[in-house]
């Protein structure tokens, strides 16, 4: 009797523990969070080439991390298109270089402002950051104006559309 009751007691213990786990899983959403209270998420840092030259392939790098650990198993797609012309979108798969780094190369042949967006998927997590870049002096000047205006919009009430010339 004594020897038989032991496994039963063990089973009961396992059951109780499973029940406790199942119950605590009801607040799973808060249990998963990191020290800042955030859910698991990807952080993506886009590194644009130092300088762009027309008709030369320029490398686009991104660094993908989850909770400061490099993610090497992500599916990465770079999308590049001229500002205001999303229909000219070019999709380039990113190649993993290890340590969370992904690269794509792309050659551009006309001056102007471009947008590069990276679609990163790792399991159920997604991120899609984008940056603008400009090739040619005129484009660089308009990009600067654009960025300045955006910074102003983000900080203070808008001043009705950038009439800064007196």
């Amino acid at each position: 009797m004594n020897t038989r009751s032991r496994p039963i007691r063990k089973t009961a213990l396992v059951l109780a523990m499973t029940a406790a786990l199942a119950l605590s899983a009801c607040t799973a959403n808060t249990g998963l969070t990191d020290e800042k209270g955030l859910l698991p998420h990807l952080t993506v840092d886009i590194e644009l080439p130092e300088a762009f030259t027309l008709d030369f392939a320029a490398p686009f790098h991104i660094r993908v991390e989850q909770h400061k650990v490099p993610v090497d198993t992500a599916e990465v797609t770079f999308e590049i298109w001229p500002e205001n012309h999303p229909e000219e979108r070019v999709r380039i798969p990113g190649e993993s270089n290890g340590k969370g780094l992904y690269t794509a190369e792309h050659q551009l042949s006309t001056e102007g402002i471009y947008i590069v967006r990276c679609h990163v998927v790792s399991g159920s997590l997604e991120a899609m950051p984008a940056k603008r870049f400009a090739i040619g002096e005129e484009a660089v000047l308009s990009l600067a104006e654009l960025e300045e205006q955006q910074a102003a919009d983000g900080e203070a009430p808008a001043h009705g559309g950038g009439h800064d010339h007196h």
């Binding site: 009801c26 947008i115 991120a127 950051p129 603008r132 990009l143 600067a144 300045e148």
Partner: protein
Amino acid sequence: MNTMTNSSPEAKTPDSRTSSNSKLFAALYQSVWRWHFYAGVIFAPFLVILAFSGSMYLFKPQIEGYLYKDMLTVREVGTAALPADEIIAKTMRAYPGTTISSITFPDDPQSTLALAANRNGTSTIMYADPYTGHITGILNSDETFSAFFKKMHSELVIGGTWANRLVELAACWAIILVLTGLYLWWPRNKSAIWGTILPRFNKPGSRQFWRDLHAVPAFWLSICILILIATGLPWSGVLGGQIDRLANATNTNYPPYALSFMAKPESVTVTKDIADNVPWAAENLPVPKSAAGGYMTLSVQDISAIADKQQVTLPYTISMPRGDTGVYTISTSHTQPGDNATLHVDPYSGAVLTDVRYTDYGLMAKAITMGIALHEGRLFGLANQLLGLITCIGVILIAISSYFMWRKRKPQGKLGAPGKAKDKRVTIGVLLIMLVLGALMPLVGLSLIIVLLLDWLIISRLRPLKHWFSA
């Protein structure tokens, strides 16, 4: 007193065995009545204001739906809605000096979008037709019908912390009024239906008539009144803070980031290069041949797509990120609780940083959420609103009938307060119970201390005052 209650302790036939007991009960009754009287005289006016403003606010959906019909509904339902970003840009162009802090998407195709906008320093709500992008109307946030009655309900119209504390004080004393009232109402004859659960109308205008109009509806509504107060108190300044601490201590509160107005996380995207990527612009350096910009903020449309992907159901509000490190916030604005969701989304990468749903709430947070919906008449539709309305009308009726009861009894030159109980032990015993309630409700405790000091320092030392207050 004999006419006052259906069966006051004094009316009992003297019996040698029970006479000391009935004297004690009479003293107890007297003492409780005295507290009930003073609390009522002081707080009834506030409770009438709360009941009136509350009954108006209860019907906010219907009343505002009627008052602001042209703003809240579209002329014609179009085939497709414009992108929210286009509507926002169009609005900001058409109304210079406007910044939009949030946009609420309705679940009804006939409803307009609500844009929370700051227009030259004034916070307004702008309603936009989602199909045309036209603004259908603009309201000043603090001048709407509901804003007026909300202010009356929480700050007695005058506004400010003092008024808000006064409301809390009145609500807490209302609990004491209900408890002491129930004690006074408690049937002391087993067979007394009349005057307890049914009013006696055979002598209209008599004290008994007003007493029954006071005590009988008060008994019926006592549970509703207590529930209304209990569900309103989590909002209150002092006791609300204590309820919050209790919920934290028992681990049953809202999780972090559960509510859109609580602290928000910061963006996780490295934004260091936003400020310093155009050094040549300020100085007189040659313009470079190429340049990289900073991270682009996702569009409201993108965030809306994320909300759909995360199965957040309409209606919901998307709040714009504030500053470089701010985040987008998606929060539901459902009438009924249960599907509540608040998500914070990185504005550059679209990563969902936090996602707290109703099911993630602790037990007390769930109860508070349900309680708020019940308090506002949103939990079970029209029946909930009507129940709230009946309770509000009841409170006003109870206050009016108590006034007539008092006028019928009030002698000349005196307040007409019930006298102090003869038995000192009873007076002290009841005071101790009051002090326990005062410890549970800090503002009640504070008011008790003030009353006791007033009584001791002034009223008991001045004969005319002592006479007037029956002290």
